[in-house]
Symmetry: C2
Subunit: 233 residues, 2 copies
Amino acid sequence: MKRAVVLLSGGLDSATTAAVARERGFELTAVSVDYGQRHRVELEAAARVAAHLGIADHRTVAVDLRTIGGSALTAGIEVPKGGADAAPEAEGSSIPVTYVPARNTVFLSIALGFAEVLGAFDLFIGANAVDYSGYPDCRPAFLEAFERLANLATKAAVEGRGRYQFHAPLLHATKAEIVRTAHRLGVDLGLTVSCYDPAPDGAACGACDSCRLRRQGFATAGRPDPTRYAAGP
Amino acid sequence: MKRAVVLLSGGLDSATTAAVARERGFELTAVSVDYGQRHRVELEAAARVAAHLGIADHRTVAVDLRTIGGSALTAGIEVPKGGADAAPEAEGSSIPVTYVPARNTVFLSIALGFAEVLGAFDLFIGANAVDYSGYPDCRPAFLEAFERLANLATKAAVEGRGRYQFHAPLLHATKAEIVRTAHRLGVDLGLTVSCYDPAPDGAACGACDSCRLRRQGFATAGRPDPTRYAAGP
């Protein structure tokens, strides 16, 4: 069995991505990143999802992106609520204030380090260019550039032991398609947390961009939404 | 004055790089990374160097690369001593066991996040392809690939507010040339720490690859070596 590294945030997309990787026959190591995120309950969700998917090897790396700041998820910036019309994006920008500077670059770097140590050359990430087209580091061009970098950056690649491949199986999927894929693969999405601003008990706010996309995804897919919302759905 | 971000490890190369960036007229933010390195005294050295160079803005980010391991600098692997003949490199590899998987990729990602938040588009790194040609992530091709990535990964670049440039002014310099440059720019190299395996009091071992290169650098440059060695030089 070939080993692969999957970035597991505890959200819907990464849980489904892990299930896809498992279906493709990879033995998985899940990597979560504790980056000082506002929605830390997702780290507990990541552990639940790893156990649910039978991923025995789950590692969490701490990197304090609060030191960098610059995002509604890591600094004292309010998470926008109430939909696209009301979303207070950064002035003159179409990219949401929940964008975290260089986040996926940092995450993929850490995943790459793990892959090299484990002798894995396949990496899975739940990046999605449809619903989050506002995030530059979720685009195909970004992932291709990172793959190119990884094959220059590492001893394992330079010495010809393998070629790193970055898989983003949900890159072009809608949220509804992701919900359907998860259902087909038997993923219990009730274990996942997508909310950017959950209540202390982990209940989803139901109003942030991430909650709205998730809720619409279940509705469009015609599947019951297992999310526990702080405000009624 | 244009702002730039400089990665400051506390070693000879990054201190000299910072001085070069200052000479080129940049207002600097220094970024150090506490990655669980064996040679943690270098973080204290970084603070001393920042103060010495008049860099008021010095930030340290914690990312625990010990969780990843795989290097003599972060895991329980012995640091080789005694020179090239005796250096126990990884089996079948010409890259030293002090190579840290994906280290410069992680460091540059973090520096990129800072640069974006600060509105800086110039980043300086003390990478050197001459003495450390064994490290794949110190090569020009790596830095070029990272620059390309950075301009795809970030909101600031995608929205056209600027183009990230990565400067490695010492990339093709020998250690002796770096020592001379530092001297010309008034850098007190006695404040820097290069040793991979220093004594608890911070004294350099004098025998690891990094100590040997540094010592040779001073000798070739014809400059007194201000390093405090545990074993006499």
